[in-house]
């Protein structure tokens, strides 16, 4: 599954030591011009999303890209709220995402710790399956999972049906393992001699020592279910239980024609859906990129 494979590699991106020779005046100017042009291209759609969500009349022209006090309104937010009940949709997204994070932290930490620190029968096979999961696209599983979960087990329109296939993020398990592998062995041996149980070692030693890295893995786990569309879309037909990504997508593809300013309403919904992920990323950005996870993935 692409979304799951990608974050593993992200872990390799540490805060780059500035190895290249200092640039000369002209090179530096070109460099900055390229970067700021790039940043503009990346950020402009988000700015436009916000501006568009506040327009009373959609203004697709050049002037529409600038805030126009005469054309500002919060009506679009009211409109999308009437259509989707944003509170309910956000709650559904939160339950889905929270449960996946909980499952990943509880069971993923246990598995990651065992794979890194303990030696037991079948360890090699578990690790091999963990790697295999990363290369088989999730989409192959959607049809059989749909048949099993929706048709056979009758879990359509339930949180459980939505959560199950995502309950433990394999990428996070892999990342947890890599962190724990980097901790010195002597630490664990010393704790064992002192009579600490494995669970205690995990909770009192391994986890506190790799906190920033664990935070990264949790953030990556958050992005998955919060942004996921296809699976919850297949499982839920009732709007009451749909996460925001699904209800907004349904709004885009079917009912947007009914609104007086469909783009305004769509963009208002888009802002609400994007805000939590962007905010979390901005708040934790520094720690996100600074935690040096490189050595675990590079080799």
């Amino acid at each position: 599954m692409a979304v799951e494979t990608i974050p593993v590699e992200l872990a390799a991106a540490d805060d780059a030591p500035r190895r290249e020779a200092p640039s000369t005046g002209r090179g530096r100017r070109i460099r900055l011009a390229v970067l700021f042009l790039g940043a503009f291209v990346f950020l402009f759609p988000f700015y436009y999303m916000l501006i568009g969500s506040l327009q009373a009349d959609p203004d697709p022209g050049l002037a529409g890209a600038l805030p126009n006090p005469g054309n500002l309104t919060l009506d679009n937010y009211t409109q999308i709220n009437d259509q989707l009940s944003l509170g309910r949709a956000l709650l559904n997204s939160g339950v889905f995402t929270g449960a996946v994070i909980l499952g990943t932290v509880v069971f993923g930490l246990l598995a990651g710790y065992a794979l890194a620190v303990l030696s037991f029968r079948g360890k090699g096979m578990v690790f091999a399956s963990l790697l295999l999961v990363q290369v088989v696209p999730f989409q192959l599983l959607t049809i059989p999972l749909y048949v099993l979960i929706v048709r056979d087990y009758g879990l359509a329109d339930s949180y459980l049906g939505m959560i199950l296939p995502f309950a433990i993020n394999s990428t996070a398990v892999f990342v947890f393992r890599q962190f724990f592998l980097q901790l010195p062995r002597e630490l664990f041996d010393a704790a064992r001699i002192d009579g600490a149980s494995e669970l205690k070692i995990l909770l009192r030693i391994a986890v506190p020592l790799s906190k920033p890295a664990l935070l990264t893995a949790v953030l990556l786990t958050f992005i998955g279910p919060w942004n996921e569309f296809l699976w919850p879309f297949l499982v839920t037909k009732e709007q009451d239980i749909q996460p925001l990504a699904v209800s907004l997508a349904n709004y885009i593809s079917t009912v947007s024609g009914r609104a007086s300013n469909p783009f305004g309403a769509i963009l208002a919904g888009a802002c609400v859906l994007a805000a939590p992920a962007v905010a979390l990323f901005v708040v934790f950005q520094r720690r996100f990129v600074q935690s040096n996870l490189g050595s675990g993935v590079k080799g």
Partner: protein, 296 residues
């Protein structure tokens, strides 16, 4: 059973089995079993039946596969992935490598710049699709800026431009991740090689082509493999951006076809066979590109 015997049978830390048990159970129930089920479904006549009803599901050999391969819309969706890759891969490799190289120095605003490349990647595609619809529709900002150069029919409803627009969208959305990937890879390029190139009087551009590009080749392989996986997984974009793979299937993806056949039209066996073919193609293409890119 004595302690030593238990250790021999279960390993030095039998507790480890308990620790991985929930995860193993998860993999078995929600990964291995459905995977096997998909393959089984693809060689049987499988249809949706009422829960609990006992129905016959006769073995049909490769019938589903030949139905998939002779389906016009499925063929078109595979062609579309080809178009997607031809645009997405070079665009991603060139732009992310250029941006990563530019970022890889002591420059002001470094954190802000790097962060801004990453924002589209962390945002839900459903949300960003909304703003792209606004930007790229017939009267949207992009066409307003282009004026008389605006394509007719417009981007998302043109038979020729719909798939390239999706490829452009996906390249834009994921570029930040690849910038980080290349940034990490650049740290492994030996600084001495740049010095040697400078001593030989190589220009900045030549040093980039002869030192940087070969130096980050493993990362490039990864970009290509991940692009293939992304292409094979495309669903949200053709579903929303071009209104269900329009116009007339010109931007449909295999997963969209899987959804339409398997769930909308109730032919899960057809969809399962399509999934098996898709995964086989992903594996073959990934291995081939690895071989091709990592040859000496």
């Amino acid at each position: 059973m004595s302690a030593t015997l238990a250790k021999r049978a279960l390993g030095r830390h039998p507790l480890g089995i308990g620790f991985v048990a929930p995860y193993v159970l998860f993999l078995a129930a929600l990964f291995a079993y459905p995977l096997g089920y998909a393959v089984w479904m693809s060689v049987h006549d499988f249809f949706f039946a009422a829960p609990g009803a006992i129905v016959e599901r006769p073995f049909v050999g490769l019938d589903n596969f030949s139905a998939v391969l002779s389906d016009d819309r499925v063929q078109r969706s595979f062609l579309n992935i080809g178009i997607f890759l031809v645009i997405n891969v070079p665009l991603t490799v060139v732009l992310s490598l250029v941006l990563a190289t530019a970022l890889n120095a002591a420059i002001p605003w470094r954190g802000f710049l790097r962060g801004s490349f990453y924002v589209p990647y962390v945002t839900a595609s459903v949300a960003v699709v909304g703003v792209w619809l606004f930007l790229f529709n017939r009267t949207g900002l992009v066409n307003q800026i282009l004026g008389p150069l605006a394509p007719e029919p417009s981007w998302l409803v043109s038979e020729w431009l719909a798939m390239p627009t999706i490829a452009l969208y996906v390249s834009w959305k994921q570029l930040g991740f690849f910038v980080l990937l290349y940034l990490a890879a650049l740290q492994n390029v030996q600084k001495e090689l740049y010095e040697a190139a400078a001593v030989d009087g190589a220009s900045r551009f030549r040093a980039f082509m002869n030192v940087t590009v070969p130096g980050v080749r493993p990362a490039t392989t990864l970009v290509v493999v991940l692009a293939i996986i992304t292409g094979a997984n495309l669903f949200t974009e053709p579903y929303l951006l071009t209104g269900g793979g329009g116009p007339d299937g010109a931007s449909a993806s295999p997963v969209l076809a899987m959804y339409q056949h398997g769930i909308e039209q109730g032919e899960p066996d057809f969809a399962a066979a399509l999934g098996v073919i898709l995964v086989a193609m992903v594996l073959v293409l990934s291995l081939a590109s690895r071989k091709f890119l990592e040859r000496d």
